[in-house]
């Protein structure tokens, strides 16, 4: 879907929307600061839209390898205690989390 890259500035509502997508809580002063800064950065990216990329394949990584496979072998991994050692809260050998469904 083509969109208008001429309009490079972000609104405070758009910044709040992005922050929600990224799961970052913002204060009002955060929103004002990031709106100005992100708009300023995006302005510099407008020139990209002028480049002709018709028929050009996107690069996902510069030195591609295809179908990297390994043998499906049983091997040792972290123990349960090692895997849990950094968990903020645990119970009965499991990570304890808040209810996801309320």
């Amino acid at each position: 879907m083509p969109c208008n890259l001429k309009r490079m500035s972000l609104t405070p509502d758009e910044v709040l929307h992005i922050a929600r997508l990224a799961r970052i809580s913002l204060t009002e002063t955060d929103v004002a600061r990031f709106t100005a800064q992100l708009s300023g950065i995006l302005e510099h990216f407008a020139a990209l839209s002028a480049l002709n990329t018709d028929g050009i394949e996107p690069t996902t990584q510069p030195v591609p390898l295809y179908n990297v496979m390994r043998a499906d072998l049983v091997a040792s991994s972290l123990t349960r205690n090692e895997a849990l050692a950094n968990a903020p809260e645990q119970e009965d050998g499991l990570i304890r989390v808040r209810a996801v469904l309320e």
């Binding site: 879907m1 990224a22 809580s25 690069t59 990584q61 968990a87 903020p88």
Partner: protein, 487 residues
């Protein structure tokens, strides 16, 4: 005698260790004493591992006794805090990982340990390697050993500062868009960013997965070659790790570079480059000519100017996905006072991340979001292809491409902190090779206003050997190796 051992390069120290002129314990104690003397002013480290270092030094001395030592055995090394080290706190410069003790080690740290190297500590860095000055570290900025009021560059600024200040002999950094080469330039060191895929990313805290590479910083080209040999090679735990055989790059030291074809792209000589930097680069090109290189300044890489936009769309997009894992559930800082699971997660990330990390996550989330994906992320990936194609065509004609590493020398702490785009411009000369995945090296080429200037040599894919030959020949004729600032 032992109090000056920290001044040695790793290869000089290796000769001393081999001849039993001193032990690794003595060498390590000398470095730790130097750390005690200068670290309050330099702040190169986030975490010191002095007791572990002395234990590793004792093991190294035993290897010399048993005849199993390698060139890095017993050498004190600084390790960037983005590199996961089992049992030693790894923060990636972030508050969100303040108490993270890794249960496993990265491939590169395993390789260092296998070689018998000694880890002094974990070096300071911009949070999640996002920055060019170390000012975005949650643990405070590092100071440039050449002038303590200036930044050391970034994001591997702690590693570069530690090498220059004598707080280790060599160090590991990581480079996503210039994070090894730019601080090496600003601190007067040699720093090498390998070809994407040359070094395993297993156990590297992820930032931009199609760009991240670990590489060495040292006081001369030989030390950097030795470190690269230690960490290179295939690792099945990283599916982007290249399975091709790896040549021993130390063989490329001391080579005659007569007839080497050097392309100098005109797009790199732009407004914004300091006259003092320009003068040193012009002199360096003359020195390469004197070594018999064929210098061609007619090379044009017209898409160069777009590399910055491409990088700052692709790297933040990848970062926004990679950093989704910091949710306060499995490990890391966790806010727990909220009314709901979502509030806890949003507060965990609001309190755990610094501003630059938030900016990049949001920039990436925006570039990937519905309605903007084609215009931003996909467009950037296509322009990335154009940049790669230009480099590929250039390497049909040239053996190496030579440019400045940074448009300026080190700048004052605080000067660019409130202008994110001005900070991004520090990497304008290092971003194109990163975007293309090409290997590149910074080698010091003199001083401007008393501060180091760096020359960047870019090579073809997996041709680290040739850039090491060129950098070593230049360093030898230029006579800069192992020059340390008064501190």
């Amino acid at each position: 005698m032992s109090e000056e051992l920290w001044r040695m390069t790793a290869h000089e120290a290796h000769e001393g260790l081999r001849a039993r002129a001193f032990t690794s314990v003595e060498l390590t104690e000398s470095v730790l004493q130097r750390v005690a003397d200068v670290e309050p002013r330099v702040h190169a480290y986030i975490t010191l591992s002095a007791d572990l270092a002395l234990e590793q030094a004792r093991e190294a001395d035993a290897k010399f006794e048993s005849g199993t030592a390698t060139p890095l055995t017993g050498i004190p090394v600084g390790v960037k805090d983005v590199i996961v080290t089992k049992g030693v706190r790894t923060t990636a410069g972030s508050r969100i990982l303040e108490n993270f003790i890794p249960p496993y080690s990265s491939h590169v740290y395993e390789q260092l340990r296998r070689s018998g190297a000694v880890m002094v500590g974990k070096t300071n860095m911009d949070e999640f390697a996002m920055g060019s000055s170390t000012e975005h570290s949650a643990y405070g900025a590092s100071h440039n050993p050449w002038n303590l009021e200036l930044v050391p560059g970034g994001s591997s600024g702690g590693s570069a500062a530690a090498v220059s200040a004598g707080e280790c002999l060599v160090a590991l950094g990581s480079d996503t868009g210039g994070s090894i080469r730019q601080p090496a330039a600003l601190c007067g060191n040699v720093g090498l960013d390998p070809t994407y895929g040359r070094v395993s990313r297993f156990g590297i805290v992820a930032f931009g997965s199609s760009l991240d590479q670990v590489g060495p910083i040292g006081r001369d080209v030989e030390d950097v070659a030795t470190m690269l040999d230690c960490i290179s090679g295939h690792d099945p735990r990283d599916s982007t790790s290249n399975p091709e055989p790896v040549p021993d790059v130390r063989h490329y030291l001391g080579q005659d570079i007569r007839g080497m074809k050097v392309g100098v792209p005109k797009e790199y000589f732009i407004a914004g480059m300091e006259p003092g930097v320009r003068a040193r680069i012009d002199e360096a090109l003359k020195a390469l000519e004197g070594l018999g290189c064929e210098i061609d300044t007619s090379l044009s890489l017209p898409t160069t100017e777009h590399a910055l936009a491409v990088y700052y769309l692709i790297a933040p997009s990848e970062a926004s996905a990679n950093l989704a894992r910091y949710d306060g559930v499995k490990y890391g800082y966790s806010y727990r006072e909220g009314a709901s699971m979502w509030e806890n997660m949003e507060q965990t990330r609001a309190r755990g991340f610094g501003d630059e990390v938030k900016r990049r996550i949001m920039l990436g989330a925006y570039a990937l979001s519905a309605g903007y994906y084609d215009a931003y992320y996909l467009k950037a990936q296509k322009v990335r292809t154009l940049i790669n194609n230009e480099f590929k065509a250039a390497f049909d004609k040239y053996d190496v491409i030579v440019t400045p590493t940074s448009p300026t020398v080190a700048f004052p702490i605080g000067a660019k902190l409130n202008d994110p785009y001005a900070m991004y411009l520090n990497d304008v000369y290092t971003l194109p090779a990163s975007v293309a995945g090409l290997p590149s090296i910074n080698v010091p080429c003199g001083l401007s206003e008393g501060l180091p200037v760096g020359l960047q040599i870019i090579g073809n894919f997996f041709d680290e050997g040739r850039i090491i030959s060129a950098a070593h020949a230049f360093e030898t004729t230029f006579g800069w190796a192992n020059r340390l600032p008064d501190l």
